[in-house]
Symmetry: C2
């Protein structure tokens, strides 16, 4: 098994690989928390840290044989989180920004449960930042996009299979930004932010171009799209699913749309508006057992 | 048991009650489908029906003792749907409006499963239109609002408990617009639209003012807000939950916001943009078993 602990603050085809892996190989990603360890206690507020060092992603890993037009898939085998996490408000961030103050809370995360005030609830570890390099240039790890990035999709948890477009040779896959728990929408701007490590099995689907990442989790498969505005973002995610359905099931666009209305779920991954952060939405359908898979991983 | 089958096309304090019920009483609502029965087969498109006769709600029921400032609660005990439903596109409606044609499909709904093309999937009956009268004027049953109305929240299913603000004497509760199945977002503009009947136990929570309806379902409680725009709507729903948490648990606004970021889910009920329909969102948290209930129904 390959272990990677180098990290970067952007997705880019120009990053030298931290490791090289064959399709089918398992890689262990040792990750920093989203603050790069700068928040060390409740006295440290998010206004007091270096905001150029946020959301580090561990990697990138060069996947042998991956070429533009392929899809990379990454099975999240397990997620180990640190013994504590930090839950922080950020200035004027999220729908409750006007009704909350700057505050950092340390959350005990030992034993699979989280403790916050007099409340104890199960940890639900997930990966916030995950994806492949864009074809050119550089995208900050703080942003989501067609390559994945800061998707903050809570379904990216142990047991999930994720798919990303390959836009450069080797895909250059990387991940980070673990949350011990985060609600859909991450409406406060942070989840319970932790360091940790993630076991991932990488796979390659040759010649399967994608416009947006996909997440298969809890019996459903979702397209995850992002953008500055709700309506266009929802259209992108819905259109990706419509295309997958027509291709896999031989239905026309209208029947696919009707099916999505009846059975598809449109949901929120990240929505820290009214800040200028991009919104991340997903549109998903159940893995219908009687129908061909929307994304076959063997063929 | 009271049975009601009269229907209206708006929520208004001016509607004469179709029945009067005591808190605790079970009422059977016999409902029309959202098209008022005008769609009778696949040859009938949504452009060919009388659009002033949409989304009828059965009722209203006058609940004895309900006064402004109270909350009405309605437990959905069971939902029976008709043997068939209709799934329709509407002109330029929903995120796939540009990639679908006008079409009506009849869906067989017998035996608890739905049949669409070569696909068979379980029916998941839910109530689209539900709520109480506003304090004055009239709100079309096509619209959502602070009174409920066309919330299209798929969690309003058998087993759910719903709460609505009482804004006029007797509350004037009514419901309709059953769907045999609808995905979160109802992104095509219709679910599988059916007639049917709904058994509801009504309850009254004296002196518990609400800004927005609440839905308790599947182990969570959600505030359901609506409006023309994503950001403001999400703020309304999040703020309602923040207020419930601070009142019930004695936390301050900031800890409530941090908790919502870590554990609350922001989700979509209805989103047929880019049409001018209002968006309906929910923000919900688990029913934490170790903590006081956010809305006590006995006290």
């Amino acid at each position: 098994m390959i272990t990677v602990s180098d990290f970067v603050f952007s997705f880019s085809p120009d990053h030298p690989p931290a490791a090289r892996a064959l399709p089918g190989e398992v890689v262990r990603f040792v990750t920093q928390d989203c603050f790069c360890g700068q928040v060390t206690g409740e006295s440290v507020l998010t206004t007091e840290i270096d905001m150029t060092r946020l959301n580090p992603a561990t990697g990138p890993v060069f996947v042998e044989g991956a070429e533009p037009g392929d899809a990379l898939f990454a099975d999240i085998l397990s997620i180990d989180i640190a013994d504590r996490g930090y839950l922080c408000t950020l200035p004027d961030y999220g729908p409750l920004g006007g009704w909350s103050e700057l505050r950092t809370r340390e959350v005990d995360a030992r034993g699979g449960v989280l403790r916050f005030n007099d409340l104890v609830f199960p940890a639900r570890p997930m990966v916030g930042v995950i994806g492949t390099a864009p074809s050119e240039g550089s995208v900050s790890c703080e942003n989501p996009g067609a390559h994945g990035g800061n998707m903050d999709c809570k379904l990216v948890e142990a047991g999930a299979r994720t798919f990303f477009p390959v836009r450069t040779s080797g895909a250059l896959f990387q991940l980070g930004d673990l949350h011990a728990s985060m609600g859909d929408g991450e409406i406060g701007g942070s989840g319970v932010e932790t360091a940790g490590s993630v076991l991932v099995r990488l796979g390659l689907l040759k010649d399967f171009p994608l416009d947006w990442p996909l997440v298969e989790s809890r019996g459903m498969i979702h397209a995850v799209a992002s953008g500055p505005e709700f309506v266009d973002t929802q259209r992108e995610a819905a259109r990706q699913m419509q295309r997958l359905i027509t291709a896999a099931w031989g239905w026309d666009d209208t029947d696919a749309a009707l099916y999505l209305a009846a059975r598809g779920d449109s949901a929120i991954c990240q929505s820290c508006k009214p800040s200028d952060s991009d919104i991340v939405l997903r549109v998903g359908v159940p893995l219908e057992p009687s129908m061909p898979r929307l994304v076959p991983t063997t063929r």
